[in-house]
């Protein structure tokens, strides 16, 4: 038996391909939206994986360091190291900020391909600056170029998406840093690329005030009779020193000894150290279920709207195409074509349109995903789910046209 739908598609392939192209771009946007969400989840997981920690110790009553601000003294790590089951523990700081080349000129990579590298035309990059202790948890897992930090100050390892190259000088707050290593897929939960610098430098960058502010603060302290008492030598200097020094970090990353349950190690930290400790599962819950929950709902709304728009477009196109074939349908019914054959023809055309659209959409999404400034993860399972949804939408959309076709009176083919 002839495939009526197939012949009709071949006969008016130009119309079908152009319509499928339009629909495909819409489907491509839909797949990309799903990819953006997957990318956010993957970024969050990459952040946890790259930290190399089993436990995150943070300020009490906070969900830091990624979801909330967290601050704790940097000597707490010594107490944590003494707990049973702790293999390694290290301080880390996280600070999301604008990082730029020290000469102010746009970075080579950032200017040539600012979208792919996350940079902008001014050479500034939004990055998460991580302060870590070399050789300890929090260090970048692997390098794609250059070397790890070997000096105590003013060296940096950057993610390639910052657009910085080996040897570049970058400015973070008051100091310049030389990029000595490049890493990959080291991003914050928001998808910002990371720049790793020594912990001490990072503490300064995050907590130390500028010189003018320090001078002003010293003057204020000196003017305060409580800190500048006659006959108490050294008090003012001690207070001023305490004000300008900083000993805070955002979190302690803990690696648990093999055979120990992270939850069991976390319990005494919470009980005796008056700190909060999160296991990997809990931290993933915070990142995925809380931190990106609003974005996920936002994307979900977009997906629903795009699905409705796609359905409306397919329904309108198939309906219009069917109206253009009313006379042929009347003739087909008059010469004895079954209703289900006619319904099948319309349904197959809708599915054909959906299939063309899906192929165009998948190819488009694959082509433009790398150009997005943030990571877009197109998963085959999502594509498969997308195909099923597109086919369901097309089936649903064809029902209106099928109803019209089935109502066509075969007598309409006979004049008078």
């Amino acid at each position: 038996m002839i495939s009526l739908a197939g012949r009709d598609i071949l006969h008016s392939w130009g119309k079908f391909v152009l319509t499928g192209l339009g629909l495909g771009l819409l489907i491509g946007v839909t797949l990309s939206m799903a990819g953006v969400y997957r990318g956010m989840v993957d970024d969050a997981r990459a952040l946890l994986n790259n930290s190399g920690a089993d436990l995150w110790v943070v300020q009490q009553d906070t969900q830091g360091p990624y979801a909330e601000s967290s601050s704790l003294r940097d000597d707490v790590v010594r107490g944590v190291l003494g707990l049973a089951g702790v293999e390694r523990a290290a301080n880390v700081t996280y600070l999301t900020m604008q990082v730029r080349r020290s000469d102010g000129a746009p970075g080579a990579a950032a200017s040539s391909d600012p979208v792919a590298t996350g940079g902008d035309a001014s050479g500034e990059v939004r990055a998460m600056v991580v302060g870590f202790e070399p050789g300890q948890p929090g260090e970048p897992g692997y390098l794609v170029a250059g070397r790890h930090l070997t000096r105590s100050h003013y060296e940096a390892v950057a993610d390639v998406r910052t657009g910085f190259a080996l040897g570049d000088r970058i400015r973070i707050r008051r100091h310049d840093y030389t990029v000595v290593g490049l890493t990959r897929r080291m991003v914050s939960s928001g998808g910002d690329p990371m720049v790793f610098i020594p912990l001490k430098d990072a503490q300064e960058a995050q907590f130390l005030k500028d010189n003018d502010a320090i001078l002003n603060e010293r003057a204020r302290t000196a003017a305060n009779p409580a800190f500048n008492r006659p006959g108490v030598p050294g008090l003012l200097e001690a207070v001023q020193a305490a004000q300008s020094a900083n000993h805070s970090v955002n979190a302690i990353l803990v690696q648990v000894r093999p055979g120990f349950d992270p939850e069991a190690v976390a319990a005494p930290i919470r009980r005796w150290k008056h700190l909060e400790a999160y296991t990997r599962v809990q931290m993933e819950e915070i990142l995925v279920a809380k931190l990106i929950a609003t974005s996920a709902r936002q994307i979900g709304m977009f997906l629903v709207i795009l699905a409705i728009v796609s359905a409306a477009i397919v329904a309108f196109i198939i309906y219009t195409m069917t109206l253009g074939k009313i006379r042929e349908i009347a003739v087909l019914k008059l010469i004895g074509t079954r209703d289900r054959t006619i319904a099948g023809m319309i349904l197959q055309q809708a599915l054909g349109l959906g299939l063309i659209g899906f192929v165009v959409g998948k190819v488009s999404a694959t082509l433009w995903a790398p150009v997005f400034p943030k990571y877009v993860l197109l998963e085959p399972a999502d594509a498969l789910r997308g195909l099923v949804v597109v086919m369901l939408i097309c089936t649903l959309a064809s029902t209106l046209a099928i109803r019209v076709a089935l109502k066509v009176d075969p007598a309409a083919a006979i004049g008078g």
């Binding site: 038996m1 002839i2 009526l4 012949r7 009709d8 071949l10 006969h11 008016s12 006379r327 042929e328 003739v331 087909l332 019914k333 008059l334 010469i335 004895g336 074509t337 079954r338 054959t341 009176d409 075969p410 007598a411 083919a413 006979i414 004049g415 008078g416």
Partner: protein, 230 residues
Amino acid sequence: MATPAIRIEGLRKRYGEGEAAVDALKDVHMTVAAGEVVGLIGPSGSGKSTLLKCLGAVIEPSAGRMELGGQVIYDNGWVIPDLRALRRDRIGFIFQAPYLIPFLDVTDNIALLPMLAGQPDAQARARARELLEALDVGHRARAQPAELSGGEQQRVSIARALANRPPVILADEPTAPLDSERALAVVRLLEQMAAQHHTAIIVVTHDEKIIPTFKRLYHIRDGCTHEVRT
């Protein structure tokens, strides 16, 4: 006398009910032998199309009796339950315009009917080619309908009507868009096909050029038929 291909007795068709009711057919009698071409003429609104639709089993008469090829199809109610199959297997249709399916080539436009009747594709296409050769359009077998001239399209539509070897063909003003010469050629072709395939053909027409060519005519006026011998 052999059994007529078409026999209609006391056929009536009423549209609507009560005071708004209109009797489109009041008392129709008609007999057409196999291999005969009969004209059906009448003014607009006389009931020609209604009669054609009743015979074509697309609308239900109100009363009367109809036989096609010796089989009663209507006797104050449809006797045959599957009207779709009846139209497919026992009635051929030729329309005022050819109404070929634009996305099927010439061969498949004809072969579609045998295929719908369950014939294998190869056999259906062989039948289509045979008819196209008989109607002198065999050389356009692979062409698309839009590539054919008006005359060629009408020949293809005649071939389509004959595809399932129906005992009856209903032609609804088949010469309306044609000039005199081509109109007469179509009528000759219908006569030739009717004789060759032993098919009864009713030609509904307003076309005065072709009316004299019919040996028998039915004139319909106010829903009643009168036979006219020419």
